[in-house]
Structure formats: C-alpha cells, structure tokens
C-alpha cells in the first residue's frame, strides 16, 4: 500500500517482477515506486514498468477510500512474480 505526498492511496503486489525484493521498501516519486535493488520503477496507477532490469509490470489492485477507510479489491489477474518465486 502506498500513500503519496498528494494524498492518493495505491495498492500493488509487493514483489518486484525482476527479482525477489519488496517494493514497499522502495522510493516513491511522481506516482512511481523504484525497486530498492535496481532501477526499474513501476507506476502506482497502472503497475507498468519503465526500464530494465524488470521487463513486466506489477499487478495493481483497486483502491477506494470511503470515510477515511481504505478498501482494496484484489485483482483477479495472475501475479507477475520474478523467476523462481512462488506465491506463499
């Protein structure tokens, strides 16, 4: 879950699609999160990736904020996990 400086809330799968790293530990700027290991950044809105080493975007989930409560509707799409990593 990300809360940007602009006050928007976003929900993404936490694992970078290149290698097992937590995006929650990454750097958020301009509504994108940069993986804490390498230079790939992902859009908090769409999950798309801008540059290698990651090749695939990360899955995003639908977020609604209602009376200060954050509601997340999990995506039914398949997660884009890095090679060798499985859903735990």
């Amino acid at each position: 879950m990300f809360l940007t400086e602009e006050g928007t809330v976003h929900a993404l799968d936490d694992t970078c699609t290149h290698q097992d790293a937590s995006l929650a530990a990454g750097w958020v700027e301009n509504c994108r999160v940069e993986c804490p290991l390498h230079e790939s950044t992902f859009s908090l809105r769409t999950g798309e990736v801008d540059q290698p080493p990651a090749k695939r975007g990360v899955r995003v989930h639908q977020v609604t904020v209602q009376d200060g409560e954050v509601l997340v509707e999990l995506s039914t799409a398949a997660p884009q996990l890095p090679p060798g990593v499985e859903v735990r």
């Binding site: 290698q19 790293a21 937590s22 530990a25 750097w27 804490p36 290991l37 090749k55 090679p83 060798g84």
Partner: protein
C-alpha cells in the same frame, strides 16, 4: 566528435555494457543503425544470478536475457563471432569469421574474463552451467576467493546441500580490507551459521588433481601433476589445494572466484592505449579513448576516475551508468552524471547493499543493528564526513541514502 543521427554505431561485446549502451542510444534518440557483435552464442544475458538463482536451479538462461522478446531493441545482433582486431582507418573491426564490420563509431564493451586458478570458475553461463551440473550434494566444496562472488557461491553451495563448504578468502575475515571490521565480522558470522568454514588469511597457491584413490589401484601419470597455478586443472574428481601457510586441503569441487581480467587481448596491437597492469582500455570519464570514434565501457575499460581510485571497477551498476554516459557523449547531449557507486549481493537470505566511496573511507561507524543479528547499517567516513553506507537487509535506508545523493543532469548543466 559525436555520432551523426543516421550514423552506424558498432558495439563490440554483447554483455551488460553492450546491451545498455544500445538501449541508452535508443532511449536518447539515436535513429541510425546499431550493430552488436558478440562472441557468445546466446542472446545478451545478465550475470548476477549466475552465482545465485541460476546456480540454485530456480532460474534458467532465458530468464536472464537482457533484451525483452516482447519489446526488443531495434538492434542488429551478431552472435558467435569474436572480434580479432580493430582498425582505425577505416574505422571498424575484423572478426574471427573473416568479416570486416565498418562503423561510424565503435564502443568497445568486451567485458572481462575470469582469472582461473583451477577447478570451476563463474563468469559465463557455461561456467555456471558446469557448476550447476556438478554433483554438489554431499560434496566437499572449496571456494577460492573472498569477494562477493566467492561468498555468494559458497552460500548457494550450502543451499544445494554440499557436505562441507570451505572458503579460502586470503584475509582474516571476508571483506575486511574493503568493507571494514564490523561488516567483515558480520559476514563471517552469517556464513559460519550456515556451516561455511573459513581458513583465515591463508591464500591458495595451486590446485592439483589428487593423483590416485587411497587404495592406490589407479595409475598415476606424471604429466598430470603439472603446476595448476598456471594452467588451472579442470579435471573432474578430488583436488588438493596448496595453501600459503603450508597446509593443503582436499575438495571434491573447487571453485575459483579470484577476480577477472579485461578481455582486451584482441587490442594489444591496436592504437588503443591499454592499462599496463590490467590490460584494460584506458578512457576518459565519458568513455572516449582518445582515438576518434573509439569509446569503451564496462569491465573491459578503465575510465580516468577508476584509474585514480575514485570509482569502483567491475560492478554491475557502474557499467550501467557508464553505458548511459557513453551514449550521452556519443550523441553530443548534456553529459549524464555518474551517481554514487552502488553494489549489492545476496547471501543466505541477507541482501547486502553498499553505496558511495567505501574504498576512500578512513573510519567505519555502526549506525544500527548488530554483528550477531546480521542487520548492520554502517556508515563510511573520510575526515569525519560520510562518504558511503552499507546495509544488511536495510533496503529502505540504503535506497534513501542513494536517492538523497542523486545527481540530476540539470544540476550539471546549471
């Protein structure tokens, strides 16, 4: 000096430096043709996983390809053809297959080759595949070298179920000289907890096949006992490693991770200046070699700041940053700034990240964490000023440090 928009760029070497140079050229707007010549038969691949996930068997070569098959770079790839010579008039290269490739500019990006002391090495995917196929389960493994590649490989061998793993690091604690006491102690402890054994400051002098089984029923040929320090015995079966302190140890699998030498043998008779010690192509801090149209980046090159010790050599991120700088210079645009040096390593579920000029530090200070818990955050100082940081499972802190020191192109132009 820059390359015309329709100029042909010839990149020699299809590794990280070659791929990222081409990619940066396209990102920065070059529309002319780009050819990448590679000696290997594979598409360009990324090497960091070779000592980790690939060696474990959890990723395959196709996972390591740098180019994205669904969105490939607009580049002409030539594989399995090694370059044998550089011509400056006309500008181009000769390859082993007898072809001459002309270019309006040439980027030398042939990388480096493993220094081979004996046994296995880990540099190419063939090296890693050979080790991956080796019977590691239950085996006595010896790793020669104390750098991150050696330590990662040792860690992976424990995951693969090796009977014992011994690291011959050549210093009292692994990483002591480069990373300082607290980190070296933490690394030592981390590996010991996973059953890895260290042999202190002893260095490996030579690696030789053990001549015969203990019962003596195999015959011994004298020529099999030539000094392996020069040749590097590749023979299967147990090997004996002679150490600098007079001891020797026996291992079923020997792995050398003792550094790399620039792959520049094909340039020894060219006009390009090579470093007298390492053989690396000498270049300025944009990658320019001083010969019109000839540039160099990555592990085959030694830029001015690397020569004076201000920048590290042989790191993944350094190559990526150099590729960006070379592309900017080739296109005559705003110089692309080099960021703080950065490296990372994964060992036994601990991610080690370091940023900054660690080599220049005269003081090391633990900011958080302990040696015992393997979660150190360490500051590196010179004359009291922080110049670097290292974290063990400290992703947030390291990313924050790097971002707070990020140099933007506009800052240089101003």
């Amino acid at each position: 000096m820059s390359l015309a928009p329709d100029g042909h760029l010839l990149i020699i070497g299809a590794g990280l430096a070659g791929y990222y140079t081409a990619r940066q050229m396209r990102t920065q707007g070059h529309t002319g043709p780009i050819t990448i010549l590679g000696a290997e038969e594979h598409p360009a691949y990324d090497r960091p996983a070779l000592s980790k996930a690939y060696l474990c068997g959890t990723t395959d070569l196709c996972d390591l390809y740098l180019d994205d098959p669904s969105d490939p770079l607009d580049v002409r790839w030539v594989r399995s053809d090694a370059v044998i010579g550089l011509s400056t008039q006309p500008l181009g290269v000769q390859t082993a297959s007898g072809t001459f490739y002309l270019g309006d500019a040439v980027v030398i990006a042939t990388g480096a080759e493993a220094r081979r002391l004996g046994g296995h090495a880990i540099r190419s995917v063939e090296d890693a595949a050979a080790l991956r196929a080796a019977p590691l389960a239950g085996a006595r493994v010896a790793v020669i070298g104390g750098g991150f590649l050696a330590l990662e490989t040792a860690a992976t061998c424990t995951t693969r179920g090796a009977g014992s793993v011994t690291v011959i690091a050549g210093e009292e604690l692994p990483g002591l000289r480069r990373l300082g006491q607290p980190v070296a102690q933490a690394l030592h402890r981390l590996h010991q907890e996973h059953g890895v054994r260290f042999l202190g400051s002893a260095r490996a002098l030579s690696v030789n096949p053990v001549p015969a089984a203990a019962d003596g029923c195999r015959s011994v040929r004298p020529q099999a006992r030539q000094p392996a320090a020069l040749q590097g015995s590749q023979a299967p079966g147990p090997h004996s490693i002679t150490l600098s302190d007079g001891r020797s140890i026996e291992a079923d699998v020997v792995i050398s991770a003792v550094g790399a030498v620039p792959a520049t043998g094909w340039l020894t008779r060219s006009a390009v200046a090579l470093d007298p010690v390492t053989g690396a192509v000498l270049a300025d801090d944009t990658g320019f070699t001083g010969i019109p149209g000839v540039w160099a980046a990555g592990d085959c090159a030694l830029w001015a700041a690397q020569r004076t010790g201000l920048r590290p050599v042989g790191h993944w991120q350094e190559t990526v940053d150099q590729a960006q700088a070379v592309a900017s210079a080739l296109l005559g645009g705003i110089p692309s700034p080099m960021q703080e040096p950065y490296l990372w390593s994964d060992q036994h579920h601990v991610t080690i990240q370091a940023a900054g000029m660690l080599a220049l530090a005269d003081e090391v200070k633990v900011l958080a964490g302990t040696i015992e818990s393997g979660d150190l955050l360490v500051s590196y100082l010179r004359d009291g000023t922080e110049i670097g940081i290292l974290g063990m499972n400290r992703l947030r802190e390291v990313v924050r440090w790097r971002r707070s020191r990020r140099v933007r192109p506009a800052a240089l132009a101003a």
